[in-house]
Symmetry: C2
Subunit: 484 residues, 2 copies
């Protein structure tokens, strides 16, 4: 193990003597270099504390005006990141870019580029690109990348914990009862936005080929259930039938989304559809869902009873989270979202876990962890709302059309459930697109069927549907009486 | 926000049509590429579960043979990483390198190199270097780097939480009582290993210049208190006077270590010592220690009382951890280790926090978090024990001399406290060098006064003192009666 921190501080070719200044400098300002106790976790500690303070104050302020706390977390993230960007603050400029940063770093490492060179290869020329390249050229770049990467991964674990908790509070028998309405909501919620998006694009850009319109229609079919699940928790309405229908529909939507992506990508690239690959994708997703739940319901109690004899400290928390992580990993392996696996893990353990093992309930044990890390996910989601995207009139026009199609399509989906339920809340709950819509749009961009203007419009659509969901759900849920 | 995952999958110059195979491939195996739901957190989930299972089994096995659980975690880490390395498993090969990976990545990004090129610039030619370069050349390299980086940062947060807990269980008045013996133990524990190390090197390498011997003596003065603190917790002896003396001595040792590093670096580079920079380093460290504790004891209760009125959910846990993180960050800013700041934060809150705020005690709230993440630190420390380093006879000879000097020097330090106490346990508790010794050795290597052979010997010395401490402390603490 050869540790050579000085070599990073002294440019190649510099003599040892002229490096002395660097060493003393770095000792007197240890965050700038490696010697002394410059712990790379130090800036992350500060960022986590700032996120926690921001989330607590934002959540508090929103509850004060009667809104769900999650809206405050989104808005605080949006404010901090856009102010930081305006002030040319490198760490916030990097965090605001979101997932693009991972792609820039990977490209730079694989093709032996500097970070600014990789920025210019991935992003189109423009003011935003120059500003990001400048942030990634400065001395703070390694710190900024390391902070972004850690906070991003922590936030992904956070939303896995959130959906695991939602699963732990959901009775699997009750879920089965809503199977049919969930299926209808998911199907309508895929078909309606697809047709509306396709129609809107055909009207706005009549000269574009049909396969472009099809791809953009497909982007609008996504559902990202994290926000909705959190709003139901914030408003203490997670027990409602509407919440279960939305969760079930989101699971089905995740499978449908995989298929749609495969179909439209194949259509664009080859003009045909491979039935073998489509069947394989469907098979893997369905095998995971049916298999994990049926095997899990049989295996998990037996496993727990055996392990319980080992008398491992904190077994309940360790086994619970470990089970959720393994199912999240398996879901990802079969092409589904990690949160779908975490939700399935929660459904399975809900049926027996707290009866089998003594001590505090798993939900109580997870509660402090939830309160620490879940806000990180929503603050980070907020940081990725780029206010300057709303300034381009050409983009705004497409964005308005896509947003209207996206909202109307999912509101119609609410009609898939019984009129005795609050169909409007179900429709609104299906609205947020989140990262799923962005992944679709990114692939379309790579295939050349999504232009820069349409991509920016999709980003605006995702941001608007995300930010609108908490306040709208708050209004509709307060109006209607619980059905249970 | 321009997401273009496909561009990473299709090499430049490839036509869109030939990229189609890549897309379908990556959809059918989403972990290989970005499309679909390939969540970058998925491999980390699996690694965390494996670490948790390994730590639980290792800890259980050690307790079964009457040893502290931490020894099991170290050994499990050592076994898994060395087996993975033997089997050419890329992720474990990368994790085993430890902090060198961050330096390789930083160098590659700043100088536009590929990762294997950066490996060859940082590490000396050899079998180990080739194997690491191969692991970082393959398709798993981005995953391996991302897993290492996340787990490393998480483990740094873990040891901060551990020392914060130790502080929370330590009465500040009792700490003041052991001020004098702690100071004596720290001073003897610096002077004795320094002289022994210097003497050993003068005997083994009589031709080397004196400044080399001085630097190597300085490396032996470090103390890393994480392992010892954990062993006292594992054995439920954390209340003993010996534990407090060791903690106090470790804090003083951290300040002394900073000074020694500055003095010997200046001696080697310029041949003189700058009194101004030495005074500045001392001033910053002392101002932090005295300032944070005195201001903290005055400010923290007033702050808590004000914030308590806001009725923020989970305030106790959020404020407690946030306070620890801020003091860890401040400690790092003043040149000290983050864990020193976290320990100071614990000392401050111990005096009033649980009396001021109702609900579960902060220690109880932190307990599930401790059990989840603290083992990550010790398993990761274990993974960095490279068994093949013990094979080189030339290195082993120097290593034996340094290890004997390192152990004897710290055992003598135990004489700094009263003969009524268990002086042997105090000496053993001061033994582990941990990352502090490695940082010193790395700087010496950069300055050209630590050869590759001596560096490897230092690594062995660090590994041996770390692995010996838990079983030796177990024996001596069981023999002596608690003094309290």
């Amino acid at each position: 193990m050869f540790i050579n921190p000085i070599s990073l501080l002294i440019p190649p070719g510099t003599s040892l003597a002229s490096g002395a200044g660097t060493i003393l400098l770095s000792i007197s300002a240890p965050t700038a270099g490696l010697p002394g106790h410059a712990d790379p976790v130090a800036p992350i500690l500060l960022v986590l504390v700032l996120i926690a303070i921001g989330a607590a104050l934002g959540g508090k302020a929103m509850r004060w005006v009667g809104q769900p706390a999650v809206l405050g977390e989104l808005l605080v993230g949006m404010l901090i990141a856009n102010i930081g960007y305006a002030l040319h603050e490198p760490i916030l400029t990097v965090i605001r870019e979101g997932e693009t940063i991972s792609q820039i770093v990977t490209l730079a490492l694989q093709n032996a580029l500097t970070l600014p060179e990789a920025v210019h290869q991935i992003l189109p020329p423009g003011n935003n690109t120059e500003r990001l390249a400048a942030a990634l050229a400065g001395p703070m770049a390694p710190v900024a990348v390391s902070v972004y990467s850690f906070v991003d991964l922590l936030s992904r674990i956070a939303v896995i914990v959130l959906l695991f908790l939602v699963g732990l509070e959901t009775d699997i028998g009750e879920m089965k009862k809503v199977g049919w309405p969930s299926f209808l909501v998911a199907m309508v919620g895929v078909v309606a936005p697809f047709l509306l998006g396709l129609g809107a694009m055909a009207l706005l850009m009549p000269e574009a080929p049909l396969q472009k319109d099809i791809f953009i229609g497909a982007i609008l079919t996504a559902t990202s259930v994290g926000i909705t699940a959190r709003v139901f928790r914030d408003l203490r309405q997670a027990h409602r039938t509407e919440a279960r229908i939305i969760l079930g529909a989101a699971v089905i939507d995740d499978v449908l989304g995989l298929l749609i992506l495969a179909v439209v990508s194949a259509l664009v690239v080859t003009g045909t559809i491979s039935l073998v690959s489509i069947s394989w994708i469907t098979l893997k997703a369905v095998v995971f869902l049916v298999g994990s739940i049926s095997v899990g319901l049989w295996l998990a109690p037996r496993l727990v009873r055996r392990i319980a004899r080992l008398k491992i400290e904190n077994l309940k928390l360790l086994f619970g989270l470990g089970f959720a992580f393994v199912l999240a990993w398996l879901a990802n392996l079969s092409g589904l979202a990690t949160i779908i696996g975490a939700f399935a893990a929660g459904l399975i353990l809900e049926s027996f876990f707290d009866k089998e093992l003594e001590g505090h309930s798993l939900r109580d044990l997870l509660s402090p962890i939830e309160s620490l890390i879940v806000p990180v996910f929503f603050v980070l989601m907020g940081t990725q709302v780029k206010l300057e995207t709303f300034a381009d009139p050409k983009v705004t026009l497409i964005a308005v059309a896509l947003t209207v199609a996206a909202i109307a399509g999912k509101l119609v989906a609410g009609l898939g459930c019984s009129p005795k339920l609050d169909r409007l809340s179900v429709g609104i709950g299906m609205m947020p697109r989140g990262e799923v819509g962005l992944i679709f749009a990114g692939i379309g961009k790579g295939l050349g069927v999504v232009s820069d203007a349409v991509f920016s419009a999709v980003v605006i659509m995702v941001m608007v549907t995300t930010l609108l969901t908490p306040p709208l759900l708050k209004i509709t849920l307060a109006r209607s009486r619980p059905a249970a």
